[in-house]
């Protein structure tokens, strides 16, 4: 993030402005990635009118960065109409897509509309591995072709990869491929649990062995000694920090109008089909609860060795059953990095439980409810 962007974020934080919002336009998808956390059936997505109205409300509320994702955004027949509306409102628009449906014509249109950047998921440089993850034969080829179309239009493209047992040894190949295509590349070492709390997909994720290998790969982490160093003890101010931007300068809206702090933090805080976006952002009891949390308020983490530099995602903690609790997946990453167990791991070991086992918090999670469309909401 540039210094100016950091300054703007700090200002937005102080003024309680949702600078950055992700809208998932649909959960329908033309791929069926084995690790995906979504239910792909359409349970009544927002209509074109509802979304354009939402975009108007978001612009009024000060939202600047708009990320459009899903599911697969190009499955929406009104996608370009929505994109045009968003650009008329001068959002900085970022897209997340598998790009399978992007050809020259779509790439040109994206360029004409001034999309800021496009993130495309590529799981391997080898078709047999990538296609076995997306479960769509030929998908790697189509995604790569799309990257070339987008690049030829001068658009900024990033490849996003997720570390899993199936593709664990292929991430260097993906990086090489990205370099060849002239695009940036990111690697996410975390598989997200299902939104309803089902943690089965985590078995596809990287184990300690893979994580240790990845965290010692200098081409990924830079200075390994620095990256894997045990952090210094937190200062007084460190524990006053907010856990992340969710609920502070960022949030998320589902295809059904549900507002969550983040796509990976599916705590229902309100529905834009029933309330104004800005009212949910400012006055939702649940959103304000999230907003009140500081590191010192967490149940287990404040006393942990890793508290000052852990990657702890509050959403993952929520999916384990307690948004003030630990995130076992992040304990695993801290452990793989440093060899020092987290406070949560030590507590579990002492209780006789697998130290890296996440709590199955699904009993306390609210299932995603689909509310009936209320036409007066848009009045």
């Amino acid at each position: 993030m540039s210094a100016l962007m950091q300054e703007m974020s700090a200002k937005a934080l102080k003024l309680n402005i949702p600078l950055s919002v992700q809208i998932d336009l649909t959960y329908r998808c033309n791929e069926r990635c084995v690790h995906c956390y979504l239910d792909h059936h359409d349970h009544g997505e927002m209509t074109t009118a509802e979304i354009t109205h939402l975009l108007d409300e978001m612009a009024d509320a000060g939202v600047f960065i708009l990320t459009l994702s899903g599911g697969e955004i190009f499955l929406r027949k009104d996608f370009f109409e929505l994109l045009e509306h968003a650009r008329r409102l001068m959002f900085c628009v970022k897209l997340k897509t598998n790009a399978v449906l992007i050809r020259e014509r779509e790439a040109a249109r994206l360029r004409d509309l001034g999309v800021d950047s496009i993130q495309i998921s590529i799981y391997s440089h080898r078709a047999e591995v990538h296609d076995a993850i997306t479960l769509i034969p030929g998908s790697l080829k189509r995604s790569l072709d799309a990257i070339r179309f987008l690049k030829s239009q001068g658009l900024k493209v990033t490849i996003a990869n997720v570390l899993m047992t199936q593709n664990a040894q292929d991430y260097p190949g993906v990086r090489a491929l990205a370099a060849e295509l002239g695009v940036e590349c990111t690697l996410d070492p975390t598989v997200t649990p299902m939104m309803d709390g089902d943690r089965g997909v985590l078995n596809l994720g990287a184990d300690q062995n893979m994580l240790r290998q990845v965290f010692r790969d200098t081409s990924l982490v830079g200075d390994v000694e620095e990256f894997c160093a045990i952090p210094a003890k937190p200062g007084e101010d460190d524990l006053d920090a907010t856990p992340c931007s969710a609920g502070h300068t960022a949030c998320y809206v589902s295809p059904y109008g549900e507002v969550f702090p983040c796509v990976q933090f599916p705590l229902p805080t309100g529905n834009v089909r029933q309330q104004r976006f800005v009212d949910i952002w400012r006055h939702s009891e649940q959103m304000n609860d999230v907003r009140s949390i500081r590191l010192k308020d967490l149940t287990t983490c404040p006393s942990c060795t890793h508290v000052s530099n852990c990657t702890r995602c509050p959403g993952l903690a929520y999916l384990e059953g307690n948004m003030r609790g630990p995130s076992s997946q992040d304990c695993g990453k801290s452990y793989a990095r440093t060899g020092v167990p987290s406070a949560n791991m030590l507590a579990k070991e002492r209780a006789g439980i697998n130290p890296l086992q996440g709590n199955s918090g699904s009993a306390s999670l609210v299932q995603i409810r689909v509310l009936p469309v209320v036409t007066s909401a848009t009045a």
């Binding site: 937005a12 009024d60 000060g62 600047f64 959002f91 628009v93 800021d116």
Partner: protein, 110 residues
């Protein structure tokens, strides 16, 4: 002397934050912020109102400055913004696009 016309470049991303415009250039995503005067200029740049009128009605009255100097400064500012592809400058009015949303909602956060 020919009049200058200014128009917001539709390729940027922009939003008002605490009364000042944040603008992301469409060319390379560089982020800029505009101070109060530049923000007024930006929000008034509809492509059909001449720059001197914008200065007279929105800047001179607001800031109690000399008209001639203000216009000079505004021109310099406009050219600078144009160099970053944030504004477009022309000696002719710009043909009107369907920019209704852009005018009423340049992102004032209420």
């Amino acid at each position: 002397m020919s009049r200058l016309y200014v128009a917001r470049n539709p390729r940027v991303a922009a939003r008002s934050l605490d009364g000042e415009m944040m603008i992301m250039s469409g060319r390379d995503s560089t982020l800029f912020t505009l101070n109060k005067t530049a923000t007024i200029l930006w929000q008034s740049a509809d492509g059909t109102t001449p720059l001197d009128e914008i200065v007279e009605h929105r800047i001179v009255s607001e800031f109690q400055v000399e008209a001639a100097e203000a216009l000079q400064d505004a021109e310099t500012l406009a050219r600078e913004l144009a160099s970053h592809e944030i504004l477009q400058i022309s000696e002719e009015p710009f043909p009107q696009r369907n920019n209704a949303a852009g005018e009423s909602r340049s992102g004032e956060s209420r």
